[in-house]
Symmetry: C2
Amino acid sequence: MQRIEHHASFGGRQEVWQHASTSTGTDMKFGIYLPPKAVAGEKCPVLYWLSGLTCTEQNFITKAGAQQFAAQHNLIVVAPDTSPRGEGVANDEAYDLGQGAGFYVNATQAPWAQHFRMEDYVVDELPALIEQHFPANPMRGISGHSMGGHGALTLALRHPGIYKSVSAFSPIVAPTQVPWGQKALKAYLGDDATAWKQHDAVELVTSATERLPLLVDQGDADEFLVNQLKPELLKAACDRAGHPLTLRMQPGYDHSYYFIASFMGDHMAHHARALKAG
Amino acid sequence: MQRIEHHASFGGRQEVWQHASTSTGTDMKFGIYLPPKAVAGEKCPVLYWLSGLTCTEQNFITKAGAQQFAAQHNLIVVAPDTSPRGEGVANDEAYDLGQGAGFYVNATQAPWAQHFRMEDYVVDELPALIEQHFPANPMRGISGHSMGGHGALTLALRHPGIYKSVSAFSPIVAPTQVPWGQKALKAYLGDDATAWKQHDAVELVTSATERLPLLVDQGDADEFLVNQLKPELLKAACDRAGHPLTLRMQPGYDHSYYFIASFMGDHMAHHARALKAG
């Protein structure tokens, strides 16, 4: 584990670390915000943030404005890279497959299976590392944007009991039904669409055993709303299943970090309440 | 004038515009945040933000987290590019001269004099454009970071009565005494050091006719503190001249936007009070 950046931020510290990951077999980077209480050595809950297509660990920490609220609530916020990277790692010329587009699954298909194990990385390896090296208590929340909103919803639904809070901005709620998801899940998991359904929030809500409340914000001027995001499918599935969902359509907002920053305070308060931060 | 970006942000709008500048003879870009009242057509005061070396109009609008506070106070915030740019514009391989390093002066020396007229652009052309095209009232504040902190302090001191509030993060307070400033002022203004003094905040404070209070934040872990920034020189000059200065040394903070974001709320409140925003 090597610290490659550190900056004072809102009375706490924004850091970036790099380590050799056993899940992906590559070096992985993550951002971590340590609020004032954590800097002072007191154990704090951890919010995991999953970014969207093309992002690295940098986008969230530089653009989302989360540190201010993490400091207020004394929440640690961990933001990993979105995929394995490097010369020996499979890739694709398209922005929506390969490096920068891990979709938070463990790939089973060549050439992806060797390194693309982002579910193991996010759910198991990274939290163990965080709890070992930082003043983190075991209370965990998860959030993310777009592909990372898909990651937050599906990982929370696939691993009941692990996450005490979940939220998403502009998530891909039904990857089995939209082009981004169909392309990635076919590449990473193969032709059998039943495997894809295990990574589709709309499918998972239907059979969820734990009724973890979902908070979702979605801009109604989002350029990907109609073809890729389709929040109405999540609404219908939650209604059918009796799964608690707060879906907020935000008028005029697009898919950018300007949207995320505008509602970050609400999401951080949502997680802080559930994680008993303070 | 052409709008090239627009995003909903904290109930207002973050936009980027491009226009043919008569000052620089090039196309110039600027970011503008329109708070909720401005979007509704009500005239609001304007804070001009000047960025530092290497920055474009993008750095501040994506990283500083100012929109939240601009929305609260109903302040318009305008963030221009830091220099003229383009193929026909003089440049230098170094990051601290030429494109991205205009230093907010009107250059008098070849090859810079043709396009590098950032003082005219920021003080005259841009505000006229803003007041013509947006719901801006004539109340103006100015702030900036590093080279832009130098710009904010010197433009406010050189143009008494024009700016009702001024602040700076990590400013170059004495460019005539430090390597960044000596290199740029010599290139843009020539060998005569008396010309440089007209663009040096420490020199200008000494002879200021208007006692506009200065708010300056400076991180004490700033990697440029000792060699380039030297806030103690501004403190001494203000003490001698009886010029009101609030200089806050912020323990542990560096030169980055993480520092700027951490204290942006204080600066926006400072400007909002003086500009009667609300």
